[in-house]
């Protein structure tokens, strides 16, 4: 009986030691991983900062102006180009352009499709 207890106790001791060791090992591994990720995010953040600065450097107004002067045929803004919303004319009445064209071609009259009386009678319509 005592012997069995001893065996169990030793077994528990060994397994707890193994468990504690594995936990410790995992923690170290996780900490290392965390450190690596932190370093990586920092690198990315630094890179973003550099790219931001570079973007602004390439978009600085005097560079954009000199490029625009060289490559674009833009004119300076003139006040007369501005139109007030109230000055914009209203949209004209809606015109059926296809219909008008058909009329011009003399096709405006209803087509004389032969009608089948039965078909018209059987067409389901809205109930009154």
């Amino acid at each position: 009986m005592i012997k069995l207890l001893h065996v169990i106790a030793i077994g528990a001791l060994v397994s707890s030691a193994v468990y504690a060791y594995s936990i410790k090992y995992e923690t170290t591994l996780a900490a290392e991983h965390l450190q690596k990720l932190k370093a990586k995010t920092q690198r990315e953040r630094d890179a973003i900062q550099v790219l931001k600065a570079e973007w602004q450097f390439l978009n600085r107004p005097d560079r954009v102006q000199s490029l625009a002067e060289r490559h674009l045929e833009l004119q300076p803004f003139v006040v007369t180009q501005v139109v007030k919303p109230s000055d914009i004319p209203n949209r004209g009445p809606k015109v059926d352009t296809i219909g008008r064209k058909l009329e011009d071609l003399g096709l405006g009259v209803p087509t004389e499709t032969p009608r089948d009386r039965k078909a018209s009678a059987t067409t389901p319509g809205a109930m009154p």
């Binding site: 630094d46 931001k52 600065a53 602004q56 600085r60 107004p61 005097d62 102006q65 300076p76 501005v82």
Partner: protein
């Protein structure tokens, strides 16, 4: 010797007893030390006490040594943390465009005490970093210091090469480098930071004075992402076009310097500020040269006729004059003791207040100022912040040059803008107060709302006086000397100012300092524009004139034309139905 003594003299044992006790005593002590019995072990205890005392003294001594002498590793960390560049917050313009930021770079340092072969190290390092001075580096490595910089801010490639050399005692430290991606744009506002990322001038210095340096000293905030970006009132696009137009103007009018500013009259925000020649904050080697100063803030100038606006506002506000008062300019000159003041654009007739402004009549403004009196004039200018240094966020500022003894003659000359030199930004804030309804607001370079500005604003003139000032400025824009800047659709008003420069204590006839102040739109001003030229020359189209309308006026017109759409001023083609109701009611000259 002891052997024969024992053999030959057993009787003498008694006589020798004294000597024997000594001998036996020593032996006995030694024997006592190793004796097992308890009561005789005192000597042993004594020895143990001695031994332990010696041990503890040795440990204490070592502790004192460790505390007193600097530890090498700790010393290195301290040296680097003191030396490396601290992080600074980003600076953005009012729309969030980046104006200054930190980027991460790497610097090489060395620990001379750990370098074994200094000559070899010098040779290898200079081979990889060719722009290093070999002799200088050898001297640095020869010192007994724990930490020296080899080179600051190297490229990643150079870092890899230095790393490959594998010299013991040479290491890398990541550092923050300040960059200004927009180059010269707003250089005078931004200022710059030195290689240790300490603000030296401009807003950069202001940021430091707000407690950033203390933060770094405590070892906090070495990461830019911890710091909130500083948002300026500057609009980068407008800033660029202002500088662009001034630079073109310098070339066209062959001026030695130029400056300009755009201010929001309701908030006191400076939207753009340029002073030429300027510098590149990324490479501020020439920033401290005398002609690179910020002329808007650090230079003081006699503002010329622009000051007449202040004189007229003072006369109207004091009640000594109204918009219909008239002043005789007969004779075309006034005499003060030995001094004679002449009319520049002499008409010889009697002028009403708006006409005094339009014709820029010296005599009219003198008479108005004298009607208020010397003390009243002084008090008014004091109230308008023209007699004291105006401080903004920018650490650089200049105090105005005020006459020592202020007599009638001084009031007379200051009435038309001579004899009192102020910083242009100072004059600008006063003009803003004249047109915005009468609130004097301290100019700022940080973004702020109208409500916040109202809290710090003080009322200096009546709203009616402000309307009169807007009216006469608009009149001048329509019919007077400010026509050059009257961009159609924006209802511009303005005032020219031409002052002769003082050279060797005398006013030089052919050297002018010209200013142009404009407001838009005049019925409800939003922006105030200012352009300044130092010694502009006449050119073909101007018929040789170098007065303000022909240079500063032209530039201001272009600046308004280009910036108004960006600033969100919408053009109007029919003039506002009743822009100046009070002036129309009073039947002021020019209102019909």
């Amino acid at each position: 010797m002891t052997e024969p003594t024992r053999n030959e003299a057993p009787m003498e044992q008694q006589g020798e007893a004294a000597e024997g006790v000594v001998q036996r005593g020593r032996l006995a002590w030694l024997r006592d030390v190793f004796r097992m019995s308890g009561e005789k072990s005192q000597p042993r205890v004594g020895l143990v006490i001695l031994g332990f005392s010696a041990l503890f003294i040795a440990i204490t001594g070592r502790l004192v040594m460790l505390a007193a002498l600097p530890n090498e590793q700790v010393g290195l960390r301290r040296a680097t943390s003191n030396a490396i560049s601290a992080a600074r917050p980003d600076i953005t313009d009012r729309n969030g465009e980046m104006m200054a930021t930190d980027i991460r770079t790497v610097s090489v340092f060395a620990e001379p005490r750990k370098i074994l072969d200094k000559d070899e190290a010098t040779e290898l390092l200079t081979a990889v970093l060719p722009d290093l001075d070999a002799k200088d580096l050898r001297d640095k490595l020869g010192t007994k210091k724990g930490f020296v910089w080899v080179k600051r801010e190297i490229t990643p490639r150079q870092q890899a090469e230095v790393h490959r050399l594998g010299i013991p005692g040479v290491g890398f430290v990541p550092e923050n480098k300040r960059v200004y991606p927009n180059g010269t744009a707003a250089a005078h506002v931004l200022g710059f930071a030195n290689i240790d990322n300490v603000g030296i001038a401009g807003i950069e210095k202001y940021i430091d004075s707000q407690g950033l340096q203390d933060l770094n000293g405590a070892g906090l905030a070495t990461e830019a992402s911890d710091l909130k970006p500083v948002q300026l009132s500057i609009d980068l696009r407008v800033q660029h076009l202002l500088r662009d137009e001034l630079a073109k103007g310098i070339e066209r009018f062959k001026a030695i310097a130029a400056a300009g500013a755009i201010m929001d009259v309701n908030t006191g925000e400076v939207i753009a500020l340029a002073s030429l020649p300027d510098f590149d904050p990324n490479n501020p080697v020439d920033a401290l040269e005398k002609d690179r100063i910020n002329r808007m803030n650090v230079g003081v100038y006699e503002m010329g006729s622009t000051f007449k606006a202040l004189t007229i506002a003072m006369a109207l506000d004091s009640g000594k004059a109204n918009i219909n008062s008239s002043y005789s300019t007969a004779g075309g000159m006034m005499r003060f003791g030995r001094q004679v003041i002449k009319e520049y654009h002499g008409t010889g007739r009697t002028l009403t207040v708006p006409e005094v402004f339009l014709h820029s009549s010296n005599m009219g403004s003198i008479k108005m100022a004298l009607a208020v009196g010397v003390e009243g004039h002084k008090a008014f200018l004091k109230k308008m912040m023209q007699l004291d240094r105006v401080t903004t966020e920018l650490p650089e500022s200049a105090a105005p040059i005020v006459p020592q003894r202020w007599g009638e003659i001084n009031t007379a000359t200051i009435a038309f803008g001579h004899g009192l030199a102020v910083a242009p930004l100072q004059a600008l804030s006063a003009v803003a107060a004249l047109v915005n309804g009468g609130y004097l607001i301290r100019p700022t370079f940080l973004k702020r709302s109208e409500e916040d500005a109202r809290k710090v604003a003080t009322r200096v003139i009546k709203p009616e006086t402000s309307e009169a000032m807007r009216f006469i400025m608009r009149l001048n824009g329509e019919k007077g000397s400010a026509r050059k800047a009257d961009v159609p659709g924006y209802f511009v008003g303005g005032k020219t100012g031409t002052a002769e420069k003082v050279i060797n204590g005398r006013y030089a006839k052919n050297k002018n300092f010209t200013t142009f102040t404009a407001i838009a739109p005049s019925d409800k001003p939003k922006y105030l524009f200012l352009a300044i030229y130092d010694e502009p020359k006449g050119y073909a189209e101007s018929g040789g004139y170098s007065t303000a309308a022909w240079n500063a006026g032209v530039t201001t017109g272009k600046v308004i034309e280009r910036s108004a759409p960006i600033l969100g001023l919408s053009p109007r083609f029919d003039p506002p139905p009743s822009p100046f109701p009070l002036m129309a009611k009073l039947g002021a000259w020019g209102s019909r």
